[in-house]
Subunit: 227 residues, 2 copies
Amino acid sequence: MLLSGGLDSTTCLAVAVREGFAVHALSFRYGQRHAHEVDAARRIAARWGVARHVVVDIDLRVFGGSALTADIAVPKDRPAASLATDGVPITYVPARNTIFLSYALALAEVSDARDVFIGVNAYDYSGYPDCRPEYVRAFERMANLATRAGVEAAARGETALRIRTPLLDLTKADIVRLGLSLGVDYADTTSCYDPTPDGAACGHCDACQLRLKGFAEAGATDPIRYA
Amino acid sequence: MLLSGGLDSTTCLAVAVREGFAVHALSFRYGQRHAHEVDAARRIAARWGVARHVVVDIDLRVFGGSALTADIAVPKDRPAASLATDGVPITYVPARNTIFLSYALALAEVSDARDVFIGVNAYDYSGYPDCRPEYVRAFERMANLATRAGVEAAARGETALRIRTPLLDLTKADIVRLGLSLGVDYADTTSCYDPTPDGAACGHCDACQLRLKGFAEAGATDPIRYA
């Protein structure tokens, strides 16, 4: 399971734990701006008793060109309602989910896992191409051709690996409601692209806006600190 | 272009340069056993005048379970003729080409590249699932759904990205002949999975066996040093 420490992946973790999975969680450290995410992921992994938590360092040299990895300002106060239709934003990191899922595929293969969980959602999302259902299905198909387990399962007429996206068709409000019903403490989570040095969320980036809209529509209060 | 410093990727580089491409080469440092590969890749990139050479550090934590990344003996003296039909060998690194191609996809996206070259070949190969044509096609399809360039090209009815595999249907002997005809100096290259500390090839691992068979069948002499 890809675990960023955000609202979506933490809810996804709660879903998998409640389904009875022994979760092998995978987080990435890919730049100082997001070091607080890894701290959140560690807290959440401990709280939910994952079987294993692997934190992988990602080399940034091939990235760049994104507000999340380069010295580019994070956009603020874009209307949350139109994020999904405004095109691919500057916070998009080139091929990020593909790289993350590829590492997850490696971890799945060495762990004999059959299910790879990722908390993408295609409804209240930021317009990233690698969050769409057609992308996820294409990755799954490729993954089953890429691996020893895939080849061996195909020889038995089976499919080795499923990319599981339990949040895919949910709104942010649905996700908040689902998480609360599963006992998620959203105080553990962090979503902000541009937090203050002491870890308060900015409240104005795309991620904060989507998060706040989700809590408001779910009739719930977001327990994290905002600047 | 993925450039390992081996016989295949170096020949692939020569093909791309002769086709007129300005090559952005990408190599990976993923363990001490293969540090000599990165040195070879640097020499080759300089010799062929690539536009840019990026060396990315790959974190090993999710791997393991392969003779190339863990403390497992590299198999020796397996008959080269049956490697492709003997099943997936212990030198297979879980999801390796998927991770490598994912980084290449990121580099392609930030470089506005339309062609990603990889020197896989499905004939004289080692039985790795992620060297097969069906895998490459599935990766290409996924890649075009994953990226901003893919989404924008699809809106114009175009395909943004091609995974180019000019060696796919060639035997090792064909590859050696092709490379020699393009001016490749195979003394620059390294293929061995288990070289001596001073860089001589072992002559007995799968990679050495396939390489030696290729040179023999091409009626050429391999210029590298063997232990």
